[in-house]
């Protein structure tokens, strides 16, 4: 993809409270901006100075939280500015450590009650919606909102419809939610305004596991349709083993 002069940037460093420095790579969700975020975050975490509490990558920025009693603002700011200037993050290659996930999904029925409604919004039948969703190659853009909830992007223009104006009090962990050209995969039961078209039996978040969070920004995700019997049969441990985990 040659974006030429349309490349965003350069990244901007901003003070964020008395314990944070934010580096913004852009203002919107854009795969090029998001890839820059993932690459910068990985480079920063490869050599973190003492006093950094955590880094929080998002769609478009990285917040570095630090203890100003241990690490001087000026030192962290210089370190981040130097790293930002050290290469063109908008052309960073995808992370070598990223995983490719092929996740099973039951579309429609009790596992995705909004499938027909989404079909109406897209001018497609329910089967065509499921086929289009399962055919998309998506990328974990960020985790946020609730434990392990993954924002996956970016679906084609046809998926550019809004979230609901009302909030469903509860959708289950593993629900496949869509709107605004994104697919969202929650790790826990959540209330939501996103539209619910399917459910994966894969557990992206398990608080009791040695590795509680399975999805990482930069990971590639695609889906394949299964039936309800396949959902009931799904063995999470066997699936992870099949992934070499």
């Amino acid at each position: 993809m040659n974006r030429g002069s349309r490349l965003p940037g350069p990244p901007v460093l901003k003070v964020s409270g008395d314990m944070g420095i934010l580096i913004e790579f852009g203002a919107t969700y854009d795969p090029v901006i998001n890839n820059a975020v993932t690459a910068f975050d990985a480079a920063l975490n490869a050599d973190l100075p003492l006093g950094v509490i955590e880094t929080v990558p998002s769609f478009r920025s990285v917040l570095v939280r630090f203890d100003p009693g241990i690490l001087a603002f000026e030192r962290l700011h210089r370190l981040m500015a130097d790293l930002a200037a050290s290469r063109d993050w908008y052309r960073a290659p995808p992370a070598a450590s990223r995983r490719v996930w092929d996740l099973p999904v039951v579309y429609g029925g009790e596992h995705g009650p909004d499938l027909a409604e989404v079909g109406d919004l897209m001018g497609l039948g329910a089967d065509a919606v499921a086929k289009a969703h399962a055919g998309a190659v998506l990328r974990v853009a960020m985790l946020g909102f609730s434990p392990g909830l993954a924002y996956l992007g970016q679906l084609p223009e046809a998926w550019d419809f809004p979230r609901r104006t009302t909030i469903a009090p509860r959708v289950p962990a593993g629900a496949i939610l869509v709107a605004v050209r994104q697919s969202v995969l929650p790790g826990t039961d959540i209330p939501t305004g996103w539209r619910w078209i399917g459910q994966t039996p894969f557990r992206s978040f398990d608080v009791n596991a040695a590795q509680p969070f399975r999805l990482t920004p930069g990971d590639e995700v695609r889906f394949h349709a299964i039936d309800a019997a396949g959902f009931a049969r799904f063995d999470n441990a066997a699936f992870l083993k099949g992934q070499g985990l």
Binding site: G17, M19, E54, T55, F59, R60, L143, S146, L149, V207
Partner: protein, 338 residues
């Protein structure tokens, strides 16, 4: 097993410690005590580790019974307190013996009160913390019938009393402009910073809605920005123009424009403001906010030196207390130094 048995408790009660760090990138918010100064007071009174967990009451307490003998302490919002029916003052450590009944009533000053135990509450640790996070289902949810195990004391505790910290009188909160302040015009920011604010009833561990007397506040741009990380104390402006200050159990990320961020040192003062309380804002620089944080931490380090011995066991003062009640004074700590 020594422990604190819950006979009844308000449903908004949680277990809190210093919260989780390192998990914001996974969508897990920090949580932890709404008033970290009060948490530190309890650790000082009992000689507990900084990581020890306590019960956090949100304006309403509960009734408890001691199983075995151990030390406890109270801190944060001053709440009505009685041990075996005898009133006792707040912000102090005292020993419970097997079968003692502790009644914690409503908050009289402030909002978040804490009941600490020797060695901290030994509830389950989830992602490095015992903090209850109701929406995520993390941590223990205190309820009637629980027996909460207490920890081991590193050293023998004793009866201490701490003075009420000055932030319960604070009516000015310091803030810094932040990464999204530029989405608001200079005039709008000036209007916001000069306003008088009132704490609205919509408040919980996630955040507090506040009402400025300047009317709704509106962003000039930035309404289509993609979500990113939210700081403790970020002031978010939602669609109707009402500011909300985001606190311990805030969502870890969000896309509404945020006009400013409160100084970390002023979070306890805000958390303890009751519905209807009034405050003003003062814009400070990053350097000033960091200096406020350093001074805040120094006050925590100085807590042991602030503790005075509680000379008399208030449970021996039944006669004095009934005299007080007749006199209409609902405190139990006036006679401690007699």
């Amino acid at each position: 097993m020594s422990g604190l048995e819950i006979l009844s408790v308000a449903p908004t009660t949680t277990v809190q410690d210093r919260g989780r760090s390192g998990f914001l990138r996974y969508g897990v918010t920090g949580g932890g005590a709404m008033d970290v100064f009060a948490l530190a007071e309890g650790q000082a009174l009992l000689g507990n580790d900084a990581d020890a967990a306590a019960l956090e009451f949100a304006a309403f307490g509960g009734r408890f019974r001691a199983k075995g003998g151990f030390w406890v302490a109270t801190s944060g919002a001053e709440m009505a307190l009685a041990v075996n029916g005898a009133a006792m003052g707040w912000r102090r450590s005292f020993r419970l013996e097997d079968g003692d009944i502790v009644d914690v009533g409503a908050a009289m000053r402030g909002v978040y009160g804490y009941l600490h135990v020797t060695g901290g509450l030994q509830t389950e640790v989830v992602l490095g913390s015992r903090a209850t996070h109701l929406r995520a289902g993390f941590g223990h949810v205190p309820s009637a019938g629980d027996l909460l195990a207490v920890g081991k004391a590193d050293r023998e505790a004793s009866a201490w009393v701490l003075p009420e910290p000055a932030y319960f009188q604070q009516s000015t909160l310091r803030l810094m402009w932040g990464p999204q302040s530029e989405y608001f015009t200079k005039a709008e920011r000036d209007r916001f910073a000069a306003a008088n604010f009132i704490i609205r009833p919509e408040r919980d561990r996630m955040g507090i809605r506040v009402q400025p007397d300047c009317g709704p506040v509106h962003a000039d741009a930035g309404l289509t920005i993609a979500s990113d990380a939210i700081n403790l104390g970020d002031i978010q402006i939602t669609g109707d123009g009402t500011p909300a200050i985001l606190l311990a159990d805030r969502g870890p990320s969000g896309g509404y424009p945020r006009i400013a961020t409160l100084a970390t040192a002023d979070i306890p003062a805000l958390a303890q403001m009751q519905v209807g309380a009034k405050f003003r804002l003062e814009v400070v620089t990053r350097e000033q906010a960091v200096a406020l944080l350093a001074a805040f931490r120094e006050r925590i380090r100085a807590l042991p030196g602030q503790m005075a011995p509680a000379l008399r066991d208030p449970r021996d003062m039944g006669d004095l207390l009934s005299y007080n009640l007749i006199g209409g004074v609902m405190r139990g700590d006036e006679h401690d130094e007699d």
